[in-house]
């Protein structure tokens, strides 16, 4: 995803002179082409994330469109007050890019894990959150954001993730991307866990369970139109995310259910189940797959839970 980001932003900056890329000392050689082509629009803020965000706000106030890029925990919680005050409170257009989200950098320890960023950023007024699931969605999201300046948090993974989309989706805020259509189960996949969700989709489909695979790119705002239809249609709806269950995207859907009074609506047939990271730090040396398994973000486990739920619902 990060290579797709670097490649796309370099081409988009050619058409838009206001695009300024600021990174906080991350991405060795990733932005060499950007630097070479637009030396006056590239800045390494140094290991100074608070400064990066406030400086971006100053640039934005003068008509630039700053894009701030670093590893997710340092792009988000490290400089939260600067994001709140200088970006969101002042309503300054900018694109904040968190790279290596979730457990992408699992081996580097919990300092580099991000399971709280969506929960924290989604409460900020004016903030929109996009979580693309593969590099095609990263590129399409960037194109949309540059064409429609606002305040965005783009949560991406690392590199060499499999590509799941077979065509370029139209990206809009408040819109999910339906990759495969189905009737019984809806897999609502948020962000970089899309390849795992796709494997669950394959498992269920093999067993003749009609499954819809959805990449929920727009986490804030959610695609409420889609959700309203989905809760009338599917027997089982699940959310999958590499983020804490507390305050994550699945939690936003829980809020949606409560806010729409679905608990007491006889037309709502769906059961909803969330998969994500439970309330715990990882202290051991691990990789992304190990970390996912530890928190039961596991293809076989989730497949079997869905089948159980489906059977219960069928009874």
């Amino acid at each position: 995803m990060r290579n797709a980001f670097a490649e796309k932003i370099t081409s988009l900056a050619e058409k838009n002179n206001n695009v300024v890329l600021i990174m906080a000392d991350i991405g060795n050689h990733l932005f060499d082409k950007f630097k070479e082509k637009y030396p006056n629009r590239f800045f390494n803020s140094g290991i100074s994330e608070a400064h990066m965000i406030s400086m971006a706000a100053g640039l934005s106030s003068c008509g630039y469109l700053p894009i701030c890029y670093t590893i997710t925990p340092f792009a988000t919680t490290r400089c939260l007050e600067q994001i709140k005050v200088d970006i969101c409170y002042h309503n300054m257009n900018m694109i904040l890019v968190g790279t290596g989200s979730g457990f992408s950098y699992a081996s580097l320890g919990a300092t580099h894990h991000s399971f709280e960023d969506i929960a924290i950023l989604k409460v900020l007024p004016n903030m929109k959150i996009l979580c693309p699931g593969d590099s095609i969605e990263v590129k399409a999201s960037l194109e949309m954001m540059i064409a429609n300046p606002s305040i965005y948090y783009l949560r991406i993974g690392k590199k060499n993730e499999p590509i799941i989309n077979n065509k370029v989706p139209k990206i809009e805020t408040g819109k999910f991307n339906i990759i495969e259509k189905g009737n019984e189960v809806a897999l609502l996949s948020f962000g970089n866990i899309l390849p795992l969700s796709e494997k669950i989709y394959q498992n269920l489909t093999k067993d003749n369970i009609s499954t819809e695979l959805v990449s929920c790119i727009s986490v804030k705002p959610l695609d409420e139109k889609y959700l309203k239809e989905a809760f009338k249609k599917f027997k089982v709806i699940i959310s999958i995310e590499e983020h804490s269950l507390i305050g994550g995207a699945g939690s936003s859907i829980s809020d949606f259910i409560i806010d729409n009074n679905y608990m007491h609506n006889k037309h709502i047939k769906s059961s909803f189940h969330r998969f994500g990271i439970k309330d715990e730090f990882l202290h051991i040396s691990c990789d992304q797959n190990f970390a996912r398994k530890h928190f039961k973000l596991d293809v076989d486990h989730i497949t079997s839970i869905i089948k159980n739920k489906l059977n219960v619902n069928r009874d």
Partner: protein, 268 residues
């Protein structure tokens, strides 16, 4: 010129004391300490006027010590950017002049700086635009206590590296913060040496001497460094019973104190 600036500064001080009395608001001491700096900034250094206040190429002033924003409101009023009458809205419920600034609350307030340590980085971003895209200068006023925020030093390291000679920082060094002496709280000294060693063209001046302020507060485009001015000031300056008394970080004046202030400022 200096005599005129002194008369103007006295009027600004009295108006500040008056609106603080009417609004029963805090932070009067730190507002009074930077009045002479603001007077020189707006009548001498900066290209900011009623006519160009929305022009993309106006100079930018960031009152990074947002708790002293009342001093900027009054300065903007005497500059004709606000009306003097509008000052009665200061800290009034539903009014447009909050006790600490909100974004675009009035023309001339460039940033909402209630949280300390943001203004210099924002000013750095503006200064880059002022050099690479437009043509303007940026002045950021910090408090001495504010220099305890780490983000100030992130920006202080960045600006000289990028040769931002259209950026000036003034530190209102009144030696106090909310709960005590700034130098008793943190190792502030040697403050000038700190800025100098970070690569800034640094001056230390008497922040109440118009001669010294005027001599240092200009943008030196022959230099390739940003400028830092350490302005030694007195909290509560101009009103004898407020000077160097940190109670005026919180207190607002009574009607009797307002009368004495008027007399002391020669405005009876």
């Amino acid at each position: 010129m200096n005599k005129n600036l002194q008369i103007l500064a006295n009027k600004i001080r009295y108006k500040l004391v008056e609106i603080s009395h009417l609004a029963q608001s805090s932070h009067l001491g730190g507002a009074l300490s930077c009045v002479d700096i603001l007077t020189v900034a707006y009548w001498n250094t900066l290209n900011i006027s009623k006519e160009n206040i929305h022009d993309i190429n106006r100079d930018r002033f960031i009152m990074s010590k947002g708790h002293a924003i009342s001093a900027l409101y009054v300065t903007l009023a005497y500059k004709g950017i606000l009306s003097i009458d509008e000052l009665k809205n200061y800290n009034k419920i539903g009014g447009n002049l909050p006790e600490q600034p909100s974004p675009n609350c009035v023309s001339g307030v460039e940033w909402a700086t209630g949280s300390l340590g943001h203004g210099l980085s924002v000013g750095v971003g503006m200064a880059i635009a002022g050099k690479n895209k437009n043509n303007f200068n940026v002045l950021v006023l910090l408090s001495d206590g504010e220099c305890q925020e780490g983000s100030v030093w992130e920006a202080a390291m960045f600006a000289p590296k990028h040769k931002l000679n259209n950026l000036m920082v003034i530190i209102d060094y009144n030696k106090w913060q909310a709960t005590g002496r700034s130098n008793s709280t943190m190792q502030m000294e040697p403050l000038s040496e700190k800025w100098k060693s970070f690569g800034w063209e640094t001056f230390e001046v008497n922040g109440h001497s118009f001669n010294e302020l005027e001599a240092s507060m200009f943008f030196n485009k022959k230099s390739d460094k940003p400028k830092a001015i350490i302005a030694n000031t007195i909290k509560g300056k101009g009103i004898s019973f407020m000077e160097d008394d940190n109670n005026w970080h919180y207190r607002s004046p009574s009607k009797e104190e307002l009368y004495i202030a008027k007399k002391e400022l020669g405005l009876e």
